[in-house]
Every structure is written in structure tokens, then in C-alpha cells.
């Protein structure tokens, strides 16, 4: 009649099964990263043997060197390093401007009643669901005469435009969740629009600003299509160069160089992800409340 004490987890088939499932799922998710890493460290002769998963017999960083310095990305053959710095110079201003505007929009929408603001916000939210390809051509035609297509300012502007819905939304929700009495107290103290924003709201929003910066920086770094159309040859981001390197090389395919370049391009978002950890997840949660 008496029930036995439950076994330890390593002797419990149900929990053991669950643990085994977790380990195999983790293996499936890690495998591509592993294959990419070892491929980038193998010389081509070893890759041609077709042992995709085996550890390199001969570790070499040549492919990484080539990917960074000398691989051909279209016409030029000086690796993806140019793209790296292009991406950095696109990401920094895009992130800064986008979160500033997003915070300002969110603050104005949450606390200040401006005529038609709700309608505009609704329009912006619908815009968030429209594929960029749909807006591409009119945007090119609009920015062309302003000499903004193919310039750094142009690609930054386009990033700011396309991130505005989500940035505005997360800051509006953030400010709406703060106690309104704070704002009212500041109004009674005689503070105006900008003073309340800079001295009260921004300091209260540091965590949200960090989350937004992480989201925006990752998103802009990973963008391909906007960079392809709007950045111009001088400012091609790393993702575009990477795709050119892998998919348009003439002659022999250098898979190790391809994988090294892919890893190099992914290092920045992966570093953001690893370092920011929970903040990255918070960004997903903030972005997921849309609608």
C-alpha cells in the first residue's frame, strides 16, 4: 500500500527521457554552428573528402585570413573587412537615431494628446506588417532626387523609417506602463515637454533603451535587402558582401572561406546575444506585444 520514495532523477526513466530529448534538441541546434566552425578551420583538400562532421586533422586559420583580407566579393578581392566597417558605420547612427525617435514618439503618444496622433500611430502599426519589397520602388523614387540612394545618410534614413513602428510601439507601451502621476507631478512642477522627457522619462527608461538598442543593432546588422538597394557600392554592408562572396565566386568554391566569412559576419550579433543574454529575451517580449 505504501508508495515508494521516488527515484533520483538519473534512475527515473521519464525524467531521463526528457533529459535525453533536451540534449538531442540542443545538439541539433548547435550542429550547424559546429560544422560551420570546423569547416572554416579545415584546408580545402580535407573538405573535399566529405567528412562534414569530423574534427579537422589539420587546423588552419588561412580561410579566416582570406575571408577577412583577400576573398573576392564581386569585383573587388579584399575580403569582408570593408563590409564590416560599412556595417558598423550604418549600425551606429541607425541605432542612435531610431531609439531617440522611438522614445520621443512613445513619450509624446503616451502622455501628450496631439490631434490625429492615434490615427497616425495606427497607420504606422499597419505599416509594420507590410513587406519592405512593396515600398521599395516608391522609396527609391522619393529618395533618388534627394541624392539619398547609394549614400550612408540614405541607408541610415531607410533603417530609421522601417524600424520606426516597432521602436515607437515598445516605447509607447513602456511609458504607458509608468505611473501617470509621475508625469502629472512634473507638469505641476512646471516642467515642459522636453524637460520632462530628458530629465525624467529618459532616466526612467535606461533598461528599455538598452533593450531597444540591442534589438535595433541586431536587426540593422542582419539586414540584407535594404543594404542591397539603398547603401550603394561604397557602403555595402557585410551581409551583402558575404552573399556576394559565397554566391558569385567564379572558379573553385572555397567552402572554408565561405564559412569563415559567414562566421565573421555573424560574430557581432552573436556577441550581442551572448553578452546581453536576458536583455535580448526582453527585447523579444517587448516586440511580441505588438498589435
Amino acid at each position: 500500500m505504501k508508495a515508494a520514495r521516488p527515484p533520483r532523477w538519473y534512475a527515473d526513466p521519464a525524467r531521463l527521457g526528457l533529459a535525453a530529448l533536451a540534449v538531442s534538441a540542443a545538439a541539433f541546434f548547435l550542429l550547424p554552428l559546429y560544422v560551420m566552425a570546423i569547416t572554416s578551420l579545415k584546408p580545402m583538400e580535407e573538405i573535399r573528402l566529405g567528412h562534414l562532421f569530423s574534427w579537422p586533422t589539420q587546423l588552419t586559420l588561412d580561410a579566416w585570413h582570406a575571408a577577412w583580407i583577400s576573398a573576392c566579393t564581386g569585383v573587388a578581392c579584399d575580403g569582408v573587412r570593408g563590409g564590416f566597417w560599412n556595417s558598423v558605420s550604418i549600425v551606429l547612427p541607425s541605432t542612435l537615431i531610431a531609439i531617440t525617435l522611438g522614445a520621443l514618439n512613445g513619450y509624446a503618444l503616451a502622455y501628450w494628446r496631439a490631434r490625429g496622433a492615434a490615427l497616425l500611430f495606427g497607420l504606422l502599426m499597419i505599416g509594420a506588417f507590410i513587406p519592405v519589397q512593396v515600398l521599395m520602388f516608391p522609396l527609391v523614387r522619393m529618395l533618388g532626387p534627394l541624392h539619398l540612394v547609394g549614400s550612408l545618410a540614405g541607408i541610415v534614413l531607410v533603417h530609421v523609417i522601417f524600424s520606426m513602428p516597432i521602436m515607437t510601439l515598445i516605447f509607447r507601451n513602456h511609458f504607458a506602463a509608468l505611473p501617470r502621476e509621475l508625469f502629472l507631478a512634473a507638469r505641476l512642477d512646471g516642467a515642459g515637454f522636453l524637460r520632462i522627457f530628458v530629465l525624467l522619462m529618459l532616466p526612467l527608461s535606461v533598461p528599455m533603451l538598452v533593450v531597444a538598442a540591442i534589438m535595433q543593432a541586431t536587426g540593422v546588422w542582419n539586414d540584407y535587402i535594404l543594404g542591397l538597394v539603398f547603401a550603394g557600392r561604397e557602403h555595402l554592408p557585410m551581409t551583402v558582401q558575404l552573399n556576394n562572396l559565397v554566391n558569385t565566386t567564379t572558379g573553385t568554391k572555397l567552402y572554408n572561406v565561405d564559412m569563415a566569412a559567414t562566421l565573421l559576419t555573424s560574430l557581432v550579433p552573436l556577441a550581442i546575444y551572448v553578452i546581453s543574454g536576458r536583455w535580448f529575451v526582453r527585447g523579444i517580449a517587448a516586440g511580441a506585444v505588438r498589435g
Binding site: 502622455y111 505599416g127 515637454f193 541586431t218 542582419n222 540584407y224 505588438r290
Partner: protein, 300 residues
């Protein structure tokens, strides 16, 4: 107007600072989103080739569009890809969320492992899987090397199966996102409800099916919304992984539009495609948004 005016006259003269601050948003919403859409619509009713024309040809471009083999193939592919991608992402994401939730010790680590692909670009994702699925040197060859000479996994170059490789790659990339959203929903469930169910003698699987999943309705709808938006936009991963090939076997509408805008200089046809894309997106998103709102109300 929220401004407690010191003197009514002064209040009337000073511009509302909120109006000023919202100017960039107004321009973006009206000019970029609304303006571009209307412009796109207008162009789709002209005979424009590489430059916009002012003539009006009615729905002729739409007729041409739906007579275009490549467009129809793109639509077919998207119709195949979207439900598969969403269903697989939701199922895998849910299983991952449950796995993470039930592993008290390794939960944090597992979550990090399942989510990292989401930090990667679609380009990187496409290139990684292009390499893994490479029939000569990828998984197929590796398995041959282990002595299973009959093993076939050459979907990447198989006209009928290439679309599934896109599903695999993008599910690998996006399942972590679903997991993160569902995990947040799981953690928000009152633990006493699960305790009550255990006391009721309900087996673990049934607790998940009958209680947890229905209570996660809002989270599922949110995840589905994000996945659907991503599916309609599917472009980068195709470019990186298959360039639409082999042949036109993995063409998608977004790519059709881009090719006709910039490669084939047929902006009217591209704009007609763009309009169809918006209509499709709206038709699919509207019921989902409605269901999501209902789920939110039910959970309160």
C-alpha cells in the same frame, strides 16, 4: 490638449511641442507607408517598364501577372512554405519551451542554445544550411562516409523538395523565437493551476494539452503573427540558399517583385505583385489579429 494654459491666448499661439515631436512619425506614416502604397497601387495600373508612366491600363498588369508562370510558381511556393513554416515553428517552439521549462538546472543554458540562431541573419542562416545540405560534400556525403551508401538527402537540388529545405533552415532560425514567447506565457501561468491539476490526477501530457495550450492562446497567436509576417517577407534566406533555384523551384513573391523592379525593369508588373502581396498579408493577418485579441480578452 493636455496643456494647463497659463493664459489662454499664449497657449493658442505656442505650437504644441508634441506635434513638433511627432512630425517625423507623421511623415513616415503618411508619406512613406501610405504614400508609397498608394503610389505602388497607381503604378500597378500603368504600363510602366523601367520608368513610371502616367497612363492608365486598368487591371491589365494583374492579368499579365496571373498569366505569368514564374509568379504563379512563386505564389504556389509561398502557399506551401507558409503553413509548413508556421506549423513546424510553433510545434518545435512549444516542445522546446516545455523542455526548457521542465529542466530546472540546465534551463537557462538550453534556452540560450535554442535561441542563438535567431540572432543570426537570414543570409548567414541560408549559407549555413546551403553548406550542410550540399549534396556533394554535406550531410549526404558524410552519411555515405559512415557506410550508408544508399542514403539520399539531396533536397537542395531537388525541384520538388527544395522548398522543404527552406522550411528546415528558417525553422531552425525561428523556433527559438517561438520558444521565448511561449516560455514567457508558460511562466505567467499561475502555478497553483498546475498544482490543482496534479491533485486532480491529470497526467502531465493531458495538463499540457487541456490546460496549458489553451491558456497559451495569446502567446501562440502572437508567435503566429510574427511568423506569418516573416513568411510573407521571405527573401534573404532564398537569395542566400538557393537563389530561387534549382530552376525556378524556390521562387517566392518577394523575390519576383525585387527581380522585376531592379533586374527585369518591369516596375508595373512588380507593383501589381506588391499589391497582391499586401492584400494577401492583410487577408491572412486580419483573422489572426482578431483571434489574438479574443485570446487576450479570454485570458483576463
Amino acid at each position: 490638449m493636455n496643456k494647463p494654459a497659463a493664459s489662454p491666448a499664449a497657449a493658442r499661439r505656442a505650437p504644441n511641442p508634441a506635434h513638433l515631436a511627432l512630425l517625423p512619425m507623421a511623415l513616415t506614416a503618411l508619406v512613406v507607408y501610405l504614400g508609397s502604397m498608394l503610389w505602388s497601387l497607381r503604378i500597378s495600373m500603368s504600363s510602366s517598364r523601367s520608368l513610371p508612366m502616367q497612363d492608365f491600363v486598368g487591371l491589365a498588369q494583374y492579368q499579365r501577372l496571373f498569366a505569368n508562370e514564374r509568379w504563379l510558381h512563386s505564389l504556389h511556393n509561398l502557399a506551401l512554405y507558409t503553413p509548413l513554416f508556421i506549423a513546424a515553428s510553433l510545434v518545435v517552439g512549444f516542445l522546446l519551451a516545455v523542455l526548457v521549462d521542465r529542466q530546472a538546472r540546465a534551463g537557462g543554458l538550453l534556452r540560450a542554445v535554442f535561441l542563438y540562431p535567431y540572432a543570426l541573419s537570414f543570409i548567414a542562416t541560408g549559407l549555413i544550411w546551403q553548406w550542410l545540405l550540399n549534396p556533394e560534400l554535406g550531410i549526404q556525403q558524410a552519411v555515405h562516409g559512415w557506410g550508408f551508401a544508399g542514403f539520399r538527402f539531396d533536397w537542395l537540388v531537388d525541384q520538388d523538395r527544395v522548398i522543404y529545405t527552406l522550411v528546415i533552415a528558417t525553422v531552425w532560425q525561428g523556433a527559438g523565437l517561438v520558444m521565448a514567447i511561449l516560455l514567457a506565457g508558460l511562466r505567467a501561468i499561475d502555478a497553483d493551476i498546475l498544482r490543482a491539476a496534479r491533485l486532480d490526477g491529470v497526467p502531465a501530457w493531458r495538463i499540457h494539452v487541456s490546460i496549458v495550450i489553451p491558456m497559451l492562446g495569446f502567446s501562440f497567436a502572437t508567435a503566429a503573427l510574427l511568423l506569418l509576417t516573416a513568411a510573407v517577407k521571405l527573401y534573404d534566406a532564398v537569395i542566400a540558399m538557393t537563389q530561387g533555384g534549382p530552376g525556378t523551384a524556390s521562387e517566392v513573391p518577394a523575390k519576383f517583385i525585387m527581380d522585376h523592379l531592379f533586374g527585369r525593369a518591369n516596375i508595373a508588373l512588380a507593383s501589381a505583385g506588391a499589391t497582391i502581396m499586401v492584400l494577401t498579408a492583410v487577408a491572412l493577418l486580419a483573422p489572426l489579429l482578431y483571434a489574438r485579441r479574443r485570446a487576450l480578452r479570454a485570458s483576463r
